[in-house]
Symmetry: C2
Subunit: 254 residues, 2 copies
């Protein structure tokens, strides 16, 4: 009679990034919840109920999945990438904290996955090979001034920076402003990676410089990695360049 909720990371793109643990959690579920485009990645099984929802309904989706599990059902809530990085795990925790007491007694398991920055980094080399920061550029839930303060802190201390949620129709100017902010701290030649739709058929991962980085090259499915002063580019004959941040750092930053 005791229900169970698994929050399952599918990894980015297609099923190549799915872990064995995630596959097992999906197989064990009686009901599936998730953003429609992520749910589509899970093969249909007639004995599993499917409850797709819209992209921005994270809070209500979390509450619906918890309520269903509290009825004694084994529920899997799917998430792109890793559920713990700007994704559903925090939304579920918020719902548990503010929800009915019974939700605190539920068996909740979080199944980690490959998050987008790891997959994008892997395509280009090892840009996250040394200390880095992971930052959402969305100012829907935090003040823009805080984002600028974090960009300043990260860049001036020599962290490589991975930017999630860089741009959307409702947030058109933030990425350009952020890149301009980073130009105060970092050399114009700093490598910048645009990773679009990694793991999908329309994947496109490219490297440019901070001087040339163009916000128009990004969309909602783009993950951006901005190097540090240590990040290097290796040119290769007949192959794309490798971008990496060495394991050693000197501490002399701009």
């Amino acid at each position: 009679m005791s229900g169970q909720l698994s929050i399952v990371g599918l990894g980015p793109g297609d099923s190549c990034y799915l872990t064995a643990q995630a596959a097992a959690a999906l197989a064990a579920a009686q009901a599936l919840y998730g953003y429609g485009r992520y749910l589509e990645r899970v093969p249909i099984r007639p004995d599993q109920a499917r409850h797709p929802s819209d992209n921005r309904e994270e809070g209500s989706r979390a509450a619906a999945a918890l309520a269903h599990a509290a009825q004694g059902t084994s529920v899997a809530l799917v998430s792109g990438g890793d559920p713990g990085v700007f994704a559903m795990a925090a939304a579920v925790c918020e719902a548990i904290e503010s929800g009915p007491e019974a939700w605190r007694a539920l068996d909740v398991a979080i199944v980690p996955g490959v998050t987008a920055m790891l997959a994008v980094a892997a395509r280009m080399g090892a840009p996250l090979g040394h200390d880095f920061c992971t930052l959402s550029l969305s100012d829907n839930r935090k003040p823009w001034e805080l984002i600028e303060r974090r960009l300043d802190a990260a860049a001036s201390a020599g962290f490589v920076i991975a930017l999630y949620n860089p741009i959307s129709q409702a947030r058109p100017w933030q990425l350009g402003t952020a890149l301009q902010r980073l130009r105060r701290h970092l050399s114009q030649s700093t490598p910048v990676i645009f990773g679009h739709a990694v793991g999908r058929s329309d994947e496109r991962v490219t490297v440019t410089t901070l001087a040339a980085a163009d916000p128009a090259a990004a969309d909602m499915a783009t993950l951006i990695i901005v190097g540090s002063s240590e990040t290097r580019v290796i040119t290769r004959p007949g192959r794309p360049p490798l971008v990496y941040t060495p394991r050693s750092a000197q501490g002399a930053h701009t």
Copy 2:
């Protein structure tokens, strides 16, 4: 005749975190390289040559794998966690940059994996649910002053902080000094997670406070997550607490 090198992330702990892509890369390899303890996690196949090496021989291991691939062999170099996060991908890039020109022509593929901080975070809730920094506490390859500057920058800007390589026999005092440094910026009640050997049979993941965090509770197999001023703990009857960082942030930090 053309060789190939795959740098394959196994995820932390046992094979439950292995992705489908990583399993395929291991299956396709003619020769396997890696730190002995990671190689032991790959089932033995008589037709695959195995070349284990010691933990700290990253540079020579990378060079040996590249040289073998350059002979026309399909080589897999295994890495714990994700190869791009304080692991083998950067070591291979370094070897390519300083090595023979022929290594630049090689087909090199990096297969991402679940890195330790994602698996530890998943065990406790969603501590990495908002902006965070990832930092190695090892001062083997960077000055300690740089680590302190990065701790100051990350904590004062409100990032959650994931600490890799917190302690070793050769580096006994660094973690205690780092925690003391963080106490300048963060409340004594800030949640701190110690994740030991996540995914292994001796796994132990616990939460404490910054005031009570004891360096003696960590070893080489420990990943530490230090919360921000926003990070919260949900107590649950008969279950371990959930630790999470909400999706919203106010920007009012200590």
